[in-house]
């Protein structure tokens, strides 16, 4: 029985199948909103209102020719997309979606799983760097170097901002953090700065405009993904989509008091809250142009990190007051 339950968790909900379906829906939502903001239509033909477009893109890429560059290490080159996909799906398992009560919130939750989630979310950056490096192409190497340079910029504010609500809630477990804020929702008002800092840092982690420097199409042809094609590229794109979903899920758990109320209501709240975060991400994407990598690092150390530190101080003060 437990084995079947574990398999359902892993494969169907909230495992691979659910994340796959939901991330394609989120990608459609993002593209449609971005297009409407630019006075265009966006995906419109596949399925009703274009909702099957991301699925169509994924299937098309699966059928394309798969080329490995001659000088590249075949094993690492081919396994990187799969490893990346595995990493982001694992993050999805830690989100507290089965919130029946605090003792059985998700597949496995334990003290300290916030740290594990943040660690797992920085692995994709390393994977992009390795992908760029192993492509043995100057443009990809440059893209990989830029990915790591950006990591120095956004990682610190993201960590600080996500950990501030954890300090107030006095726990390092995602389920308990969201449970705490479900009990005291007004304490969320003190976390607004952290919310905005983490949304901007998430935009940088997902490599979307204004931070899509490593994948700048007009400058370095395709950045880290220049040499990838076919199934491998399909997995990489799926990985970025799922990363968007779990990243916004993480922000929704920590800053928006999680998904309470059992399985169905919890799912409904999950969809609502993640779509809200993704809408904000799309708005930022439509309103800004791409900045250079050195300007990005300067921006995050000059503005984002001080704001994150400020948020941390506010959290410490609030915790002192409520105790």
């Amino acid at each position: 029985m437990a084995v079947i339950k574990a398999l359902v968790y892993l494969l169907i909900y909230p495992g691979i199948l659910f994340l796959f379906v939901y991330s394609t829906f989120c990608e459609w939502f993002d593209r449609k909103l971005y297009a409407r903001l630019q006075n265009r239509i966006g995906p419109a033909y596949t399925g009703r209102n274009g909702i099957l477009q991301p699925v169509a893109d994924f299937l098309k890429l699966l059928f394309k020719e798969d080329i490995v560059p001659e000088k590249a290490d075949r094993i690492i080159f081919s396994s990187l997309p799969v490893i990346g996909l595995a990493v982001v799906v694992t993050v999805g398992l830690y989100l507290p979606l089965w919130n029946v009560d605090v003792s059985i919130p998700s597949f496995n939750s334990f003290q300290g799983d916030v740290i594990v989630v943040l660690y797992l979310l920085s692995l994709p950056t390393l994977i992009f760097f390795l992908a760029g490096w192993h492509s043995t192409n100057f443009f990809s190497t440059l893209g990989g170097v830029r990915v790591l340079t950006m990591l120095f910029g956004y990682e610190v504010p993201l960590f600080l901002a996500i950990l501030s609500p954890a300090i107030v809630a006095d726990s390092w477990r995602l389920a308990e953090i969201s449970y705490f804020y479900q009990k005291f929702p007004f304490l969320l008002l003190f976390q607004v700065t952290g919310f905005f800092v983490s949304v901007i840092a998430l935009q940088a982690k997902l490599e979307r405009t204004p931070f899509d420097i490593p994948d700048a199409e007009t400058e370095i042809v395709g950045g880290t993904f220049t040499e990838y094609s076919g199934k491998k590229l399909a997995f990489f794109r799926l990985m970025t989509d799922i990363e968007m979903v779990v990243g916004s899920g993480l922000i929704a758990t920590v800053f928006m008091a999680g998904f309470s109320g059992g399985i169905v209501l919890g799912l409904f709240k999950f969809v609502l809250k993640t779509l809200l975060v993704i809408a904000i991400l799309s708005l930022i994407r439509a309103a800004c142009s791409r900045i250079r990598v050195d300007q990005m690092v300067v921006f995050s150390w000059k503005y984002l990190t001080p704001l994150a530190v400020l948020q941390l101080l506010i959290s410490i003060v609030v915790k002192g007051i409520i105790q």
């Binding site: 405009t209 007009t218 400058e219 300007q295």
Partner: protein, 397 residues
Amino acid sequence: MKKITIPIGPQHPALKEPISLRMTIEGEVVKDADVRLGYNHRGLEKLAENKTYIQNIYLMERICGICSHSHTTCYVQAVEKLCGLEVPRRGLYIRMLVCELERIHSHLLWLGVAAHEAGFDSLFMYTWRDREVVMDLLEIISGNRVHYAINTIGGVRRDVNENQKEKILEGIKFLKMRTEYYTNLGTTEPTFVVRITKVGMLPKEKAIALCAVGPTLRASGVASDIRKDDPYAAYSEIPFELCTANTCDVLGRVVVRVKELVESYKIVEYIINNLPQGDIKVRAPRKVQPAEVVSRYEAPRGENIHYVKSNGTDKPERLKVRAPTLANYPATIEMLKNCFVADIPLIFAAIDPCVCCAERFVELKDIRKGTSKVLSMADIRRKYKYNEIKKDFVWPL
């Protein structure tokens, strides 16, 4: 990091037309740049010696899609001077109307392309949506969205009636509103401005010494515009201002082009409101007396110069075309030194490159290469096995 040489082009997503730039890079800074031309040569100057003057108008039009009217007008002006024709004023005004509409559409296109290179896709989509308004106006006047074919030796081919005039004025009013919005957007959106400020610096003395033309020159503070210095086609009768900027960088070029847009709206309104009555063309002789003439024109990209020499027959002896983008290449190379890799497409886009304008010489070999390249690859796949090609062969680029 040691110095590496990377090729940008001939195929690159940042370039709309093939051109090969070899950059020597150290880390993320460009140390040296080199331009190699010739990928778009079509043999037009040699071809023009074998066609009559009227047939050459069609040839000149197809030098470029965006600035087609500039090449035909420049050529037709030269031939009219050779024949000693005087074009009636109504014809000249209609010619100027299409010139200014072309300038508007070219600058809107450029704004979109520069925004796209900087990563600002929203501005790209908005300007190209508004460009449709201009294309529709041009279609109303001439029947075509590109290659308007409105010039002929001795005047223009089509007339403008009252209905069309009203539509043009409406369109211009709408565009004026939108351009104000873009001016605000382009100069105050911080992520965009920080990308284009201090990028592609071209100091004033260098701009003059390297013979730059057009908005690239005017953004460095030099007040030089052929419409004012060497007025052709009744521009001396129209009041407008010369637009310059002092910042010598890509932001200056954006500002100059947006100011020129505003001036073009004023010129179009003046033309429509003061269109003189009369004929639109005169008859042109078929054979032209031997003479030579130099004709200059202010295209959206800069100074366009045609030199025509006739020898008494109905075909020209020599027709030389120098399109504005070619004049801006030495200035581009100067701008590319000591810039970041990320700025390369932006700097190159800022001179508004129209590579097919800049290359017109005889290149039967290239035309053959263009078609037989496809054949060769198919040939190779059919006849030779793919892995028989040597593995360590160095491609000659």
